[in-house]
């Protein structure tokens, strides 16, 4: 996993609540057995005017000019600003894979769905929760400022606006460490292999029907 320490990136606003993982990456693209290549189909049904299928040459597809990510001013955005309950629905990790492949490294929202939130941390994407008021003000700022950038400082746990205002956020200490260092958490867990084995042995003797 790529480290996440500090990001200075362009912000794209997606002004909707309850953006679900079906919208982030529609099901027809879940047939892939790879982890990469989902970026061209991120938000496929909103981004293109035709029906997307795996294996298409996306450069030939008609773009929806009204969709925010198709607008020139947001080209190259690395921070997605959105509303509450982002990533609800399916557990598909293809959703963060698609965001990452498109170029997003951070998502700022009022709240996130649990499984999506978890999946972000496994892929070097930082999901940041800010209050509804802070989110509202960021939407105004981004709208009013072409080329609006934000600095996301994970070490100090703050989002810094170009006008200098800082917005503190909270991340679990363990997840923060993993992101800052780009740690593979399977490797971390396996350091406790002896504890797992001991737990398992005790469980097997106490509740043998679970191991039949």
């Amino acid at each position: 996993m790529e480290k996440f320490v500090r990001l200075d990136g362009l912000v794209a606003p997606l002004d909707r609540a309850n953006v679900d993982t079906d919208a982030i990456i529609p099901k027809q693209f879940l047939k892939s057995i790879k982890r990469s290549g989902f970026g061209p189909n991120l938000f496929d049904e909103w981004r293109y005017l035709d029906v997307g299928e795996p294996g298409q040459d996306v450069s030939q597809r008609p773009l929806n000019p009204d969709f925010v990510l198709n607008q020139e001013r947001y080209r190259g955005a690395q921070i997605l600003l959105t509303r509450k309950n982002f990533g609800c629905g399916s557990s598909r990790e293809h959703a963060p894979w698609a965001l990452l492949d498109f170029g997003f490294r951070a998502v700022i929202a009022e709240s996130f769905a649990d499984i999506f939130f978890n999946n972000c941390f496994k892929n070097g994407i930082l999901p940041i929760v800010l209050s509804a008021g802070e989110i509202d003000r960021l939407f105004w700022l981004v709208e009013a400022t072409p080329g609006c950038r934000l600095i996301v400082d994970l070490e100090r746990q703050r989002v810094i606006r170009t006008d200098g205002e800082t917005l503190p956020f909270v991340v679990d200490a363990f997840r923060r460490e993993c992101l800052l260092n780009g740690w593979d958490d399977i490797g971390l867990t396996l350091r406790h292999a002896d504890l797992i084995r001991a737990f398992e042995d005790r469980r097997r003797s106490e509740q043998p029907w679970l191991f039949a």
Partner: protein, 468 residues
């Protein structure tokens, strides 16, 4: 100190805890399907790791598999590769049980797990599928995980977790005629919202829950994720134990006795306290129909599509307006006037034998309305299908003009050929009415099996309560 069911289950699975409360949780049962596992098996292999405990794995192919012409195999080459990849991975790694495509016991992973007895009370159950919450009906700590976590469980038999807050949703009273577990689930989501359960483990209780069968309890726990909760729970009682007795993978003989004694402890203590309690009157729940593109956009069948102009919150109002545009509906339109193009009875929410019986009872001796282009019944598993056929339900559906299909996820998420065309409107017993969920541009209304069956016959929504 008195504990909630969730706290008991949590405590029983903590292997190790970090200073910030992040815990290593032991996983008893790992359910695997073809869509979210290939990258996990590949990752495991690339890292040179072996699965920790193969006998925890139960696998089946369900999302991509076709529901007709099984003799032709899987015609879509991309889907076929994914299913063959699962075959190859399980062949190489092994599993406690594997129900591959066309196996008589193949089916939707959340139907197959409980019916085979692979899901047992007190377990942690995970699967790379958000509807894993279904298994909480058996007092399991059961939730969906992403592919990285699938790999983590394969490699370590554990997951890194933070403890959730606890919520009790208490549904007291008696359900009216034509009101089902699905309506209870939708009414709960309508009340607390799709983010209402975020960060919580929801325990469902009250006299309504106690009176439900395991099938009904599974329907409600299945939809816990649609309320934002990663997991739903129902305490163990005689209904749970009766359901499990004799299941192929359930314990036998003295182990059964020992297990049952332990399972009887799996309930919240009488004076346990929850972080939040929601009380719902079961008597007041009417058959529900979703009108929008989120499961919280739901109303009783005898009411009208809401009017966005009466919504004070601007973000919500815009969401409602967008939903109405997408759904092709107008504000204040009576729900009963909404006409359907397709009907789907199936999915991990509502494809079990009890669901099919209830739908068949509505359909019996009647014909699907002329305007309906396709009415599908997709049993949740091969065993459900066989039992339904033994009871003659397939003949009831076929005689009415329904198609009787092979088991799988089918038009719940439309990864196979079963889908809506742009603009088509469907009464569906599935769990998500998101934009494009059942096919690009498709319009989904979530309902119970009875309501879907009645809509198929009438051609529009109608109140099963008044069904003669």
């Amino acid at each position: 100190m008195p504990q909630t069911l969730y706290e008991k289950l949590w405590q029983d699975h903590v292997v190790h805890q970090e200073a910030d409360g992040t815990a290593l949780i032991y996983i008893d049962r790992h359910l695997v399907h073809e869509v979210t596992s290939p990258q996990a098996f590949e990752g495991l292999k690339l890292a040179g790791r072996k699965p920790w405990r193969v006998s925890s794995i139960v696998a089946t192919a369900d999302h991509n598999t076709p529901t007709d012409h099984w003799d032709r195999g899987i015609e879509d080459p991309v889907s076929r590769l994914q299913v063959e990849t699962l075959d190859a991975n399980i062949r190489e790694v092994g599993a406690l049980a594997y129900f591959p495509f066309r196996d008589p016991r193949q089916g939707i992973v959340h139907v197959v797990g409980p019916e085979s007895g692979a899901t047992l009370p007190g377990m942690t159950v995970v699967c790379g599928d958000s509807h894993t919450s279904t298994h909480g009906a058996f007092a399991c700590m059961a939730h969906g995980i992403g592919t990285s976590e699938v790999e983590h469980v394969l490699a370590t038999q554990c997951l890194l977790q933070k403890r959730s807050k606890t919520m009790l949703v208490r549904v007291e009273g008696v359900l009216g005629k034509g009101v089902t577990a699905k309506d209870v689930a939708l009414a709960i989501i309508g009340r607390i919202g799709t983010a209402g359960g975020t960060g919580y483990a929801i325990e469902f209780g009250g006299s309504v829950l106690r009176a439900l069968s395991m099938e009904g309890r599974m329907t409600i726990c299945n939809m816990a994720i649609e309320a934002g909760a990663r997991l739903g729970l129902v305490a163990v009682d005689e209904v749970t134990i009766d359901y499990l007795r004799g299941r192929p993978l359930a314990p036998k003989g003295h182990l059964w006795e020992q297990a049952v004694a332990a399972w009887r402890q799996l309930h919240s203590d009488a004076d346990a306290s929850f972080d939040r309690v929601v009380d719902i009157s079961g008597d007041e729940i009417r058959p529900q129909v979703t009108w929008g593109t989120s499961p919280e956009m739901v109303v009783p069948v005898d009411s009208c599509v809401p009017d966005p102009s009466s919504e004070p919150d601007p973000v919500k109002r815009e969401g409602m307006e967008r939903a109405l545009r997408y759904m092709g509906l107008r504000a204040r339109q009576p729900i009963r006037e909404i006409r359907l193009d397709k009907i789907f009875i199936g999915s991990c929410t509502n494809s079990r034998i009890e669901d099919l019986r209830a739908a068949a009872a509505v359909v019996q001796g009647r014909k699907v309305a002329d305007g309906i282009r396709l009415a599908l019944v997709v049993p949740g598993s091969g065993l459900v299908k066989r039992q339904a056929e033994d009871e003659g339900l397939d003949r009831v559906f076929r005689a009415a003009g329904f198609e009787w299909r092979e088991p799988g996820c089918s038009m719940c998420l439309a990864m196979n050929a079963d889908r809506l065309q742009p603009g088509e409107r469907c009464a569906s017993t599935s769990n998500r009415n998101f934009e494009g969920r059942q096919g690009t541009g498709g319009r989904t209304h979530l309902v119970s099996p009875e309501m879907a069956a009645a809509a198929a016959i009438a051609g529009h929504f109608c109140d099963v309560d008044e069904w003669q």
